[in-house]
């Protein structure tokens, strides 16, 4: 009898147990009778017929073909030369002023950008960009905390405030 015990003559189809959970869920999720198939949504008449034209209108237009200036070429060169000279002087004057940099952006504009953009930054993302050493408490808090408030908090939440005292040598 012992020899029969260790030999199982039955087999299962390939990957039967791997697929079992999925097949069970399929059976359990068979079409429910109480959920209607019609949702009640409808669309305006001929809506789909006009869709392509509406989308097409919003696509970037092709660049118009360049028409050769032909006999006007010499006038074109003269006009271009004058324009280049004028632009050169304007450019010299323009460059005399400071270039616009990051510092010129208003804080409110930067805040508005972060608020209105869908960047979905979470604390983990921020932590990956900014190292802990570079962070100051003021970077994450809009109102500053006074020393009195910190002491009051510690007083209320730490059993023995004296234990928190340390000398820099301890590090």
């Amino acid at each position: 009898m012992e020899e029969f015990k260790n030999k199982n003559p039955f087999k299962t189809p390939e990957r039967y147990f791997e697929n079992f959970n999925g097949q069970l869920l399929d059976k359990l999720s068979e079409e429910p009778s109480v959920v209607p198939k019609n949702e009640g949504f409808k669309v305006p008449e001929n809506y789909f017929d006009g869709l392509y034209a509406n989308v097409r209108q919003k696509l970037p237009r092709e660049q118009p073909k360049v028409i050769s200036l032909g006999s006007y070429r010499k006038y074109w060169y003269a006009a271009a030369s004058i324009a280049a000279i004028v632009l050169f002087f304007i450019g010299v004057k323009w460059n005399a002023t400071d270039e616009i940099g990051f510092d010129d952006l208003a804080i409110s504009d930067i805040e508005a950008y972060f608020n209105e953009s869908d960047m979905d930054l979470n604390t983990l993302d921020i932590a990956e960009i900014v190292s802990f050493e570079d962070l100051e408490i003021d970077d994450v808090m809009t109102t500053s905390i006074g020393e009195d408030q910190i002491l009051e908090y510690l007083d209320n939440h730490v059993d023995n405030i004296e234990e928190l005292r340390y000398d820099t040598d301890e590090y």
């Binding site: 999925g22 999720s29 198939k37 019609n38 009640g40 409808k42 789909f48 869709l51 989308v55």
Partner: protein, 179 residues
Amino acid sequence: MIAEETLVSQLQQKSTEAAAFEILVDTYKERLYWHIRRIVLNHDDADDVLQNTFIKVFNNISKFKGESKLYSWMYRIATNEALTFLKKASKRMSISDGELQDRLIGNLEADPYFEGDEIQLQLQKAIATLPEKQKLVFNMKYFEEFKYEEISEILGTSVGALKASYHLAIKKIEAFLKD
């Protein structure tokens, strides 16, 4: 019907892109519309999102490398566009996603493009109680009749997880409607 590879190749060439794009829009407009409409509920919003979806497809078709099927790539764009649309709407109105869903369902009763009765209104309320992923899976399986393998390619979730999500969604909706 034109083969997908042929359509993609025509879309990626300047000389054939316009004609191919018209075929693409005609082929997918209704399916994508209903997919989006089930997320945003309102026709005008669905129209905006659908048009943006096609514009994004047109502008990015040169980057499409054929690593996934064209339809699943377009469904991904449509899903992202619809969900982003809702997120922006709730942010603009300074309300939570749940509150926005309540408002959208509340508006259905006065919507000229919704002719559902009380049961269909209850169904929308039931769907609104589901988490985002379950909602998508339920709509795609129950109404759009996708296979799990297709949903898996679009949403990037394993078939096993999708089956579990769908089962949970069905149970919750049934319980809601029976109450």
